[in-house]
Amino acid sequence: MIGFLLRRALWFAFTLWAVATLAFFLMRAAPGGPFTAERSVPPSVELALRARYHLDWPMWKQYLSYIGPLELGSRGAFTGDGTQTFGGVLAGDFGPSFKYRDFSVNDVLAQSLPVSLGLGLTALFFAIVIGVSAGVLCALYPRGKIDFGVRLLATAGVAIPNFVLASMLILLFVFLLPLLPVAGWGTLQHSILPAAALGAPVAAYIARLVRAGLFDALAQDYVRTAIAKGMPTHIVVLRHALRAGILPVVSYLGPATAAILTGSLVIEKIFFIPGTGQHFVNSALNRDYTLAMGVTILYTGLVFFLNTVVDVIYTLLDPRIPLEEA
């Protein structure tokens, strides 16, 4: 276990470095820059701005100063007044944001990440609870009305884009039945609709996975053994069949988390939620180099971490698979 985690940690460091490096150079290769605007600034101003953020340095120097807390001599041409200095990613400092000039990237992430995590985890919880329950219902009453209904809903849930679902939810629960707030992030009620819209496709997918997994498991010999032992249906399904049938869901949780994190862009927009999802896309569009890098590194770390957690959970659930192979 410890060896596994150590190896994972090494991979983690390498992955982060590779992603950060790739993102760094890709961002700078994109046409336009952070200060390109419809109202062009005079060339002298653009020069001063570039100097402030050290974009006038050679690429390798920018890269090194971004990565590490390296002392690279005088910082830019206007030391002391106007130039931004920062410690570098290794020191946990993602630098100033180019677009939100009154904030550092750390500020932006510190403000938005709890929101996104709150929304994402609520959505994931919703997806797991609904998805697993629906899948189990299907297995308990196979080929019946419930099964048919759940399959219909699940197909719809996977097929309907979440912004369409969001609009339908708003129409239903805000305008037809004025129960919930239409947008914003302030109280718990605010998180219900967006979490539902964000989690629905995942719930639908999980329901299908659980249903298929349970049907598969119910046909297994060990389930027949359990029935022959006289185990009541709920033990057969929940203890015996579900334990095996849930494994594909656990494997899917990694991708599901990534889907929820990146899929939150649209939901955040529709429900006006100040989360990280919007920064994920908008920072790239704005050529906000530092923010884009910060979000990319953060998401990489988050997805990597959650995948590791999922792997550990998987091996806890399936003793046949040694951790190293997971």
């Binding site: 029935i227 185990m231 009541p232 046949r320």
Partner: protein, 350 residues
């Protein structure tokens, strides 16, 4: 009244190719403490028949068309799901063919054992655990306490089958249905398991329905033998009688295909030519006719009934409950008594 009585059981499977008559007119009686073997090739319906007793035939595609399974006078085929749950594992237990897949791979052995006692006897986990350790000890598993914590994949095939037998006998059931319990095991382990079953039967007085394709193996355990072919019982007799003088060409074929140390050189090991019939198609006469060396015209036109050998009441004493579904059983019996000999041409008269 017998402990278990199966009457006129018919089981059909609705397959994509049409209905398949898996079991037809199956009847069985099982007395307390007795071992009855159900023998036949794979696909003969023996497993389906044994599983139908506990309502384990998957539906769909399986359909129980007619029949009764009387256990203590109660028809299990009409019992509620709840009642079935009480009978299963407590009154009638089952051991399946493949110990590799019959144990849950993701649950510790102990959990799988304990839940039987928890459900049927309402024991708390702690007490159940103790009894399960004893049960494992009884089936000859070393380090039973450690085994309780183990997962199926950490045990060998023989150990797993011992676990399954221990699991089946936890509640001291009256009947144990053992569906090919040794088929997936090495020969030496097979013998050990059979000895174990016999010992347990002796100790607890359990009746065993032993399902197997291996007539040789059956000889070691069974009191009575039911031979099945194409969903029907074609011969039923005491074990000794079957081995000494089979009265159905199929039984004879099975016997001749069993390797035996006692076999002399001229007693060649034979296999039955041809293959079992397609059971989705209706069969007019005897289902074995196409493969039968004793076949006569009548066999292809008329289905031979499973008739008692006793032609009169006085003969019952002599032949017992022996039955055979063959018009030519006497000829078969004679042929069986002259080892290696083929039925003479002179006998092949219409």
């Amino acid at each position: 009244m017998s402990l278990l009585e199966v009457k006129h059981l018919r089981v059909r499977f609705d397959t994509a190719r049409g209905p398949l008559q898996a079991v037809d007119e199956f009847s069985l009686e099982l007395e307390a403490g007795e071992t009855v073997a159900l023998v036949g090739e794979s696909g003969s319906g023996k497993s389906v028949a044994s599983q139908a007793i506990l309502g384990l035939v998957q539906s769909p595609p399986g359909v129980i068309e007619t029949g009764e399974v009387l256990f203590g006078g109660e028809n299990l085929l009409e019992a509620s799901r709840q009642r079935l749950g009480q009978v299963r594992g407590r009154e009638i237990a089952m051991v399946f063919q493949d110990p590799h897949s019959a144990l849950h791979p993701l649950l510790p052995i102990g959990v799988q054992l304990c839940e039987v006692l928890e459900v049927h006897e309402g024991l708390p986990r702690k007490e159940a655990w103790k009894r399960c350790v004893r049960a494992l000890d009884e089936v000859g598993l070393s380090d039973p306490e450690q085994r309780m914590e183990a997962y199926a994949h950490e045990l060998s095939g023989g150990m797993r089958q011992r676990v399954l037998i221990a699991m089946a006998l936890l509640c001291r059931p009256k009947i144990l249905i053992a569906d090919e319990p040794t088929t997936a095991l090495d020969a030496t382990v097979q013998v050990q398991i059979l000895d174990l079953l016999r010992r347990l039967q002796r100790d607890h007085g359990t009746a065993i329905l032993f399902v197997s394709h291996d007539l040789g193996l059956v000889g070691r355990v069974a009191d009575r033998v039911l031979v099945m072919y194409a969903g029907r019982v074609i011969e039923s007799a005491d074990a000794m009688q079957v081995f000494e003088r089979p009265m159905h060409p199929y039984t004879l074929g099975l016997l001749e295909s069993v390797p035996r140390l006692s076999r002399t050189s001229e007693m060649k090991l034979k296999s039955i030519p041809g293959s079992p019939p397609d059971m989705t198609q209706p069969i007019a006469g005897c289902a074995f006719a196409p493969r039968c060396e004793f076949v006569r015209q009548r066999c292809t036109l008329e289905r031979p009934p499973l008739a008692s050998l006793a032609k009169s009441v006085s003969q019952v004493l002599l032949v017992g409950g022996r039955r055979s579904a063959c018009f030519e059983r006497e000829r078969v019996g004679r042929a069986a008594e002259s080892p290696g000999g083929l039925p003479g041409d002179e006998e092949r008269v219409p």
